[in-house]
Symmetry: D2
Subunit: 309 residues, 4 copies
């Protein structure tokens, strides 16, 4: 269920034609759902109008073939709720919200935040656990409380705390208690790109890897191998994807932030593969140099993905 990149044109506006092609690329790759307006989608760089344009394009292109989750990322409850209402109007199947950020918050406030959001908008609500961006970690006690009372339909764990994720999964019933049926009552998704085999072994329901934009079929193969119990095969596919992931290091730390280099690499890879027209990231991120783009192309070739331009 990849977080869908948001292609931009040379003016910095959403390139809806490229975005539609990207959605088709992902669906052809076999993915089972789409996460629009996530961190990888550069959601915090987009104006409200641009967010709506991107989400509408993803939903329209998907055309009901697979569910679309919409990120509703903003600082606090009232602002998030406004995004959630827009997502509902545009036809999203679920919304994904973080804890409050910028401000200094607290577990009791975070619980109130999610409960209010669930009351305000009649869509399944996922909690997005991303402490690197919001500076607070959702405790497993809080997630379970909000799972049990029906506030949350699931959690997307981008915390990088694999031990904590494992504890949560065991507390939620473990592999045996969770392995039945296509639609679990409470879904645990991981945002990891590098430990997807491990997360599936631990019992997550789905994976939301940014790199899945570039190689959706690879992640689907990994997922299918894991679901079939072929863990060695899953690990082998994961290793190939780990090597491909190294493209995120192309931008020198002295010159740009981690968002610029990682998202620039993904978008240039998509351009090189002929999926989108421009590798540009949103301002004020720094564009990749020609040398960095050449490195991205090499990473693609090494992983068996031939650039077409």
């Amino acid at each position: 269920m990849p977080p869908v990149c948001t292609p931009l044109d040379s003016q910095g506006e959403v390139d809806t034609a490229s975005l539609a092609r990207l959605v088709e690329h992902l669906i052809q790759g076999g993915v089972h759902g789409l996460f629009a307006l996530g961190s990888t989608s550069e959601v915090v760089y987009l104006t409200d109008d641009q967010r709506a344009t991107a989400l509408r394009t993803v939903i329209d292109t998907a055309g009901g073939r697979l569910p679309v989750l919409a990120g509703v990322i903003d600082t606090t409850t009232a602002r998030v709720a406004a995004h959630a209402r827009t997502a509902a109007e545009l036809g999203a199947d679920a919304v994904v919200a973080t804890a409050p950020f910028y401000t200094r918050t607290h577990g009791k406030e975070i619980a109130g935040h999610f409960r209010r959001l669930r009351q305000d908008v009649d869509l399944p609500l996922f909690a997005y656990d991303i402490p690197v961006s919001v500076q607070s970690k959702l405790s497993s006690a809080l997630v379970r409380e909000l799972a049990e009372d029906g506030t949350l339909a699931g959690v997307k764990d981008s915390s990088g705390d694999e031990g904590g994720l494992r504890r949560l999964l065991v507390e939620l019933g473990g592999r045996d208690g969770r392995a039945h049926g296509a639609a679990p009552r409470f879904s645990v998704l991981t945002g990891s790109e590098l430990t997807v085999d491990a997360a599936l072994l631990a019992g997550v329901d789905g994976v939301v890897p940014g790199l899945g934009n570039v190689d959706p079929a690879g992640y689907v193969r990994l997922y299918d191998a894991a679901r079939a119990g072929d863990w060695a095969g899953a690990a082998q596919e994961q290793e190939r994807l780990v090597e491909l992931f190294a493209m995120v290091d192309v931008g020198p730390e002295a010159d740009m932030g981690r968002s610029s280099s990682a998202l620039g690499a993904f978008k240039h890879a998509l351009r090189l593969l002929g999926v989108i027209d421009d590798g540009a990231t949103a301002f004020p991120q720094i564009p990749l140099s020609a040398g960095s783009v050449a490195e991205v192309a090499q990473r693609l070739r090494d992983a068996g993905l031939a650039p077409v331009r």
Copy 2:
């Protein structure tokens, strides 16, 4: 130049009548400017409409009697620029923007961010250095670069790094190089409530204390004593304000975040002093208990500020 609290009614909407009274309270207290839509104003809790309502009320009530700076707080450049255009339309005298947040950014990106903002909106631009909220610190090299090329009109330092602030002030010319004229080319403001005497001794141009909502006259006395070279008097006034500031600790850590307790204390203090109608903070902040409110009242009495209700 206090950051103006945003009084809310029982529905969580901006209480414009209370806000107008608060502005009068501040002006009567002798302050030299107003900072609307800052962190203390709960800006990140307010929708765009609520932000506009609050800013319009502050500007209209001020009526040109003193300058109004407007916070334009959002995650990245395009979103911040939209707020800045609104602030310009509403008649703000300057805008105050942070570095990008939520995303992982970089000095070069932050520089581009401020330059683009300055180009997009024809108002003096202040950089708001608040790492506790945005997770990056503005380096003194960056601030000086943006001061020298005219991008920034000033910086509001809420970093808590008093040593770094001192280095910046010395690099900008020190007390002697900065002490001339009512309108410095580049203004350095501190967000501290507790070390205002020290900051003035170090050469800052102004102070933006959240507690200034509660006792504007006290901070003006402190400022005037410092400007008159009466440092012992300034320190004495500062000590009284340090004791008053302890009201921010009323909310138990087990029950609420730091924003809830500090802003709740300020707003209840203003209510107890008869300035605003309700001490409520924006959702999902936790309301103060009756016991906590009683503590706030006691802090006021101890500081010589008699509650009227």
Copy 3:
């Protein structure tokens, strides 16, 4: 390869009889090596004499039946080297050192640190990557550089960064490049207790779980299942151990630090299982309450480990 707890008597001195019984308990449990004087051994709480007593006891009891790695934990190179010389004199098979701590260090300094240690002491050297304690993370580039030039015999990764660990493993050759022979040229060990199955799937050579003191046979079963390719069995055993691990939460956060509760739980579990005489942790850690000890006993029973007292 568990990090061996250091039992203490009521005077806070090393209880060598209990320690010898613990070593036998681990060997009977089937472990393949012992890590003495690690963080779980409370190494930083022990005086130099106590460290020597503990290490001597472990080495003498092991009697060559399995290798003993010795932690040589101190702030900087000269101090670490002194511990390493003692470890060599006492007959340790390898030493395990962290990056410098307390001071503000740098990758180039860390590289020099490990190289000097390797020159000074003729024993295999493992790098101990534990940013929660030393505030710096060993980069994969640094680890590979020190692996390739022969400085390091391996790394013990207690960083919690499973994605980074996976990248390191792939860069070192991946599962296929690393899966041959009993003695890899460069060993990657994980300190995780909760994701051991995942780490083995990713290709680590060994695991160093603190909880392995309490249930060495469980971790050996998990290891054996993974080595046999029975990943579902490994995951099932891991889940049982995740539930057992919850004993570390017995100490209320309001009353004690995380070291007190986790190490107190491990030591009381060993006491309840009849392995050691006293559950005391080193001063100034806070002792567990009777209620907390009862919780530990219940965790043992739930995991199929019957207390004998």
Copy 4:
């Protein structure tokens, strides 16, 4: 009361002749006390023997002309107590200890730590609040509790939290309550180099600036001006010292850690001034380049301190 640098010879051993000259340099500069074996003394780089050599040299050279405080820096209580007993035997007038580090500690454990140290060693005990090194901040509630029960004789605040320091000072009685007599019952010292005037205005009893090694007379002038109520003069002296302090930036971040550049700058400055023989810092810190040393020399000249070599 400067933290005394520890000059090293080309073998990395304590250069006692240079250290004795440094102590004379400081005494001639007019300082009121000496802090040996602090962070600036590279205490965590020195073996136990080197620590004893350095402390003995400082105490012997001081010869009772002024008090000598001894840092007793180590991870936990038993290890710190051993250093404290050595310091007592060598004749130190007081000891200075941090909270436990490397391990995850807690306020109650920290309180027990200081109380045990005070019982074990019959010397006045100062708490060293240095979160950048030990990862925990001493709360003002804890400091006051330990002040009131006689555990602590004082606190050295190197936290950089000037607002918190001001709150502590006010809680301890403020300027008026603390301004009487040469020997306060409880001493508050600041480790700041850059805000000494402000700290004295706030009511600290003394200052422990690393840069005081290089220019003790400058800090004494600053102190004297402040004590005489000449705050403008104090601020002017502080500004000169802020400019001198910029020498700590000579080492490029890409090449060395902050300890290497700052301590290397101080030691080379002392060498250039003819006080000590070698500018070397302890291994594995990185030596300054010739270009960096030239920058240090220029900083000295700019501050009116002429290099003699």
